[in-house]
Symmetry: C2
Subunit: 393 residues, 2 copies
């Protein structure tokens, strides 16, 4: 069987995003042992870089050795015990996954439901907090990758804090693309993914726990149901704050951590505010181009994520054929709709390295000519200039 040589794609789906050659090069550097002093020093740098991205001083800030779903499950299994009540907001696919997590911990999920593509209704959350005074936590998705909707994380965390509930926040698609202010907003547990706006390869989940959340983990009545995700054990490897030597827990994914380190170094070089501004600008350029074609975005303007654009599919268009054609002709990947939005939207990601003027320009041109070729009722010839006017003014 021959070696696998992947084709060169342009990744503009819901993630993974394009990985910068610097990060790919880091992935291929020589492997060290997981207790090597040089590797341990790199781990300390990595924690500091993550704290900077999360805007936190939280001691417990580590990359979990698995994809974002493991980061999610790490937050729930450590903070939630059988019999607890957790208020879970759902307005897309990932709120539903939170519900699964709560229930598999033997706890009750009180659901606050909003339509796919609509924002989380803060008033309904307040009602749920009032109706469940002993709720252990409020859990919500900051950036719903399935819809492109942003949550008002600051307001939701404020409410939870007022009601004495912990906050568990999904920042998989938000970190690095829009502000995630862990300390300023009072987030207790947050997880992200390496392969979205950080533009690292998939497989790692940065997480951060507040001092209060750490206390909850240490003071549990029951053992964490997952041995692998038990932060009481994991921390003995990632932290030696009390001067004790690091204890082996599991073998860290060394080379993937090199990649995450490099992607966070690049974010640090750019400056996180500059990265947020870049994501905002490229989104406006894509939006201008799409509107010039006569296409529209699903989400209300105030709630849009710049890094994940849900584009309404025009009537009569074979959406799968469009994606297939973009992939075949341009090596360009955009995302299909998921769940309730399957067949109704495309999801165009402008995340990390994939949030650039060239990505916007290529995507608009490729989409426009593909739609024209299929006889779709769009306006041709104006999208490139509409985007340029935003990008280069």
């Amino acid at each position: 069987m021959p070696s696998f040589n992947p084709p060169l794609r342009t990744l503009m789906g819901p993630g993974p995003s394009d990985v910068h050659p610097r990060v790919l090069a880091a992935m291929g550097r020589p492997t060290l042992g997981h207790l090597d002093p040089m590797f341990v020093a790199m781990m300390d740098e990595l924690k500091d870089l993550m704290r900077s991205a999360f805007r936190t001083k939280n001691r417990l800030t580590i990359p979990v050795s698995g994809p974002g779903s493991v980061g999610m499950e790490t937050c729930f299994v450590n903070l939630v015990e059988p019999g607890d009540t957790v208020i879970v907001c759902q307005n897309g696919a990932f709120g539903g996954r939170m519900k699964e997590n709560v229930e598999r911990c033997g706890a009750t999920a009180v659901m606050v439901m909003d339509d796919w593509g609509k924002r989380i209704d803060v008033n309904k959350v307040e009602e749920a907090l009032k109706a469940n005074p002993g709720a252990k936590a409020l859990a919500f998705v900051h950036a719903e990758t399935s819809t492109g909707v942003r949550a008002d994380a600051e307001a939701l965390c404020k409410l939870a804090n007022e009601h004495g509930a912990l906050t568990i926040v999904d920042a998989v698609t938000s970190l690095g693309g829009i502000p995630v202010e862990v300390d300023a907003w009072g987030i207790d547990a947050v997880y992200s993914g390496s392969q979205k706006c950080l533009s690292c390869t998939p497989g790692l989940s940065p997480v951060s726990f507040s001092a209060r959340a750490e206390e909850v983990v240490r003071g549990r009545n029951t053992k964490v149901q997952s041995w692998f995700m038990d932060l009481n054990l994991v921390m003995a490897y990632w932290d030696s704050a009390d001067g004790a030597p690091r204890a082996y827990h599991h073998t860290a994914p060394i080379n993937s951590l090199y990649g995450l380190h490099e992607s966070l170094v690049m974010l640090d070089e750019e400056g996180i505010e500059a990265a947020w501004a870049r994501h905002a600008k490229n989104h406006q350029a894509l939006r201008a181009g799409l509107e010039a074609m006569g296409l529209s975005l699903l989400v209300d303007e105030a709630d849009r994520l710049p890094q994940l654009n849900a584009v309404v599919i025009p009537d009569g268009v074979d959406e799968a054929l469009v994606r297939k054609t973009l992939l075949a002709n341009y090596g360009l990947e955009i995302g299909a709709g998921l769940g309730a939005l399957a067949g109704k939207v495309w999801r165009i990601g402008l995340m990390g390295t994939s949030s650039s003027a060239n990505h916007v320009t290529l995507c608009l041109a490729a989409l426009e000519t593909t739609l024209v070729g299929m006889g779709a009722p769009i306006t041709a010839g104006a999208s490139a200039e509409a985007a340029r006017a935003v990008l280069f003014n």
Copy 2:
């Protein structure tokens, strides 16, 4: 903060082992989307390569998106339900981890204990199976990384099958280094690690479930407590045997999977029997050199793992200083003792790429001169020739 440039080490500890440049190069290839048709084709190749390494036709043969500990937990949380009884053999660190897994599933672990460094006593296992007629499974470690002991997996599986118990086998350190005959031995669930005798980077865990084990997973009374590890969900992404399209579960660690693919292609090129023979020969060469120095191995000859050599530390030697000196002078990593064997043995790994004549020769020379320099009571000057006589005859 600068990019991280790791030093070039020679990895001869308990894993990770040295990663071949072909595998490192694969890690740095362009990232594809996790539903890209080219990536999906690679996934199918990867499953076939794993089946070949595990010597199985099992349909459910996939790389779990996490380190070996996640592979272990995947086996337990899918097969074990609250109230079950599992017989667990412990003669080292990883049997203890199995016990933790069983108990965190709400089940009872009946322990069959043997000393660290001694083999699992098959008679005691038979007694335990007889005393617990309804036991759901027998779990044991095939290659105890903490001690260098090999289990008689064939005999243990035969016993379990006779008593109607499933078998859960830890092959983290065995796969690729010694025979792991999943079908011939009747193993029901097996997990391995990417970073041992496969010499891929750490972070992935190949697992395989027999048809019988798959039925047990599908017929559970309770939901699997881990959403991430629930094979009922994971399989919808990794398999489309019924013709249904692959369903998104989590974003696969694309580049790490490239690495595993390449390491398995290399194993396929060499031939797995040839890899076993190579591991056996290099072990004999290391052993000859160590014995020429007057050093001895902890484990009885019949039970030794060729890929993990527990070397008894001579009296009066500062074992940590030896490891530190080897790392400082030669960039050579060997492992410390773990748990009950801390301070008593070094663990010298000859795994995958690190199982070579040059690794053996360098390790012996570096160890000998370091020990001589520290005034240790060893015989100098004979180890290289003792190893050569095994290697090049």
